[in-house]
Symmetry: C2
Subunit: 341 residues, 2 copies
């Protein structure tokens, strides 16, 4: 008797969403055996289990925890056909072997874009309104309004331009909210597909033309061979004095050392950074202490029911899989392969 | 010879906007003599000057500074006909004598509403996204994402309701931006006049019905006999657990001690406060140190060109005055008369 095909999930995922998964499997009639890998760090599948696994869901409970054991097991599954991943940016050398042997990869793009965008817009308001000033004063129990002589007045978003690089679910939502706040929004997008709520839509080849008027530069693109190192010191220097940089893409998209220099000199006005050249950001990085820099630990997406939205995306794809229809969010190219995810 | 009617401004206003004022006066043909009062604390008009003043602009440069001297001078001007004020909330016993003797009062409603609303929405995002957590971690150079087990995940604005009390320029703009963020918005407004971008519009008599579903309570009404003490301990208790309170109205609209109790006990989830029962907020107030309380020193309006927008409103009214047409932003009732402004 041939063993039933295996569907690999984690124990933690099973505990929270196992019943919902069982209902989906029953409704679709998909004949698979659910294999649950422990979330204990270092737990791996044994060889007979690996043999059976054809589908896997790499869920958020693997961070921090047993990502390594789960992933190492996947690489040993000879019959693996499809992996759904809870995040968006599938990149790095880790994925190359799976991708090259034709394993289908789907990501969770769209599940959390609105939360990342709200974080980014929260940072825009934190940097553009005098919250930093008020917060310092609050810690001192001090009543320090901005002087009425206008010498230290905040800038006006209605006079400013935001340049959004990458108009996927995140970038498009940032653009929409920025326009609601009165900013002029320029969007940079590789493909011309679909409309986005921006004032100007431009091809990546026009990036340099738009940098000198970008009071806000928002990086929301995937990390690919084209975007790696995209914002280098030359391009940072093209930004106007006082410009702010937001990065919710990947650390490798920007020259972090050049950014630090521009922030330390006061030439640039501030930054909101969710991603870094090295993660976790080392304790000795000067970024932590720069006065107008807001740091979130690759966590801009934090939201309630995040796991459920990602599970729903996976379940939707399971239904498609059972019908033989194309899956959502299929990763067509691997992003950059030479940088760790 | 009868002396020419006097238009009273401050020296500081004259320095910055005197030329623009002169151009307006010339264009309108208004025959007035500009009288400039020093911004030095304690400077007042002498009696012959008081005799002449018919129009006055109480400009923002009087805070902090010579508000008292300017105002005291006004009360001694027997021929005073009209005062334009740089702020919105004209209230308190100070104004009663001028109002009662028929001096026309106009305020600067609309000049700064968008900045106050952006501050309020910035506070909504600061409280709803994990910025407080990240900021604490940043000071310690610590990489502390929200745990992936969802135990400490932020709430989702798309599941929440905002109750906006007062739909003037500020409240309406808060409502518009809140809807863009996915909140359901209920607006409380006295008059039925005009449409606002809310999901539900309700009369003040329905306030109590809407409090139990208000995850966010935004106070943006003027201080009047009706709104003084409006949010008392009983009404605060009607809010759901974890609700956040934003006050950009006046301190006297809410029972501050009851609010502090609800915040200290953790029953309410946080607050953004621009205004207080006593201003400046005393250094010993517990509000300064409450973990989810954001304080701005009656300064939510801070913005570049604020003085210019207020001046433009005054100039527009000067043109109307010269033509004998009704002025904009005429104060029809004095707001509450028993609380200091």
């Amino acid at each position: 008797m041939t063993p039933r095909p295996g569907l690999l999930i984690t124990q933690s995922f099973n505990k929270k969403h196992g019943e919902a998964l069982a209902a989906v499997l029953q409704a679709t009639g998909l004949d698979v055996e659910v294999i649950r890998l422990s979330n204990e760090r270092g737990a791996t599948l044994d060889e007979p289990e690996c043999e059976r696994v054809q589908i896997a869901f790499l869920s958020g409970d693997l961070y921090p925890g047993n990502f390594r054991g789960f992933f190492e097991s996947l690489t040993r599954c000879p019959n693996l056909k499809w992996v759904h991943v809870f995040y968006v940016g599938i990149e790095g050398p880790l994925w190359v072997p799976l991708f090259e042997r034709g394993v289908l990869l789907t990501n969770s793009a769209g599940a959390n874009g609105r939360y990342i965008a709200q974080t980014a817009i929260g940072a825009v308001l934190a940097l553009s309104r005098p919250f930093q000033r008020w917060s310092t004063a609050q810690r001192e129990h001090a009543w320090h309004p901005v002087p009425s002589d206008q010498s230290e007045s905040p800038t006006d978003l209605a006079d400013e331009t935001m340049l959004v690089v990458g108009l996927g679910a995140i970038g498009a939502e940032v653009a929409r909210l920025a326009k609601a706040l009165g900013l002029k929004v320029v969007g940079i997008r590789r493909s011309g597909a679909g409309a986005a709520d921006v004032d100007v839509l431009a091809d990546p080849s026009r990036l340099d033309e738009h940098l000198p008027s970008a009071n806000w530069l928002v990086l929301a693109s995937p990390l690919t061979e084209e975007t790696r190192g995209l914002i280098d010191s030359r391009r940072l220097a093209l930004l106007p004095d006082g410009a702010r940089v937001l990065n919710v893409s990947r650390g490798a998209v920007i020259d972090e050392e050049a950014l630090i220099r521009e922030l330390e000199s006061g030439r640039l006005g501030g930054a909101y950074l969710d991603v870094f050249a090295e993660e976790p950001l080392p304790a000795e990085s000067p970024l932590w202490d720069l006065p107008d820099v807001i740091i979130s630990p690759h966590n801009s997406t934090a939201s309630i029911n995040k796991d459920r939205r990602e599970a729903e995306l996976f379940f939707d794809n399971l239904r498609r899989w059972s019908r033989g229809t194309p899956l959502r969010n299929q990763v067509k190219s691997l992003g950059i392969a030479s940088v760790g995810s």
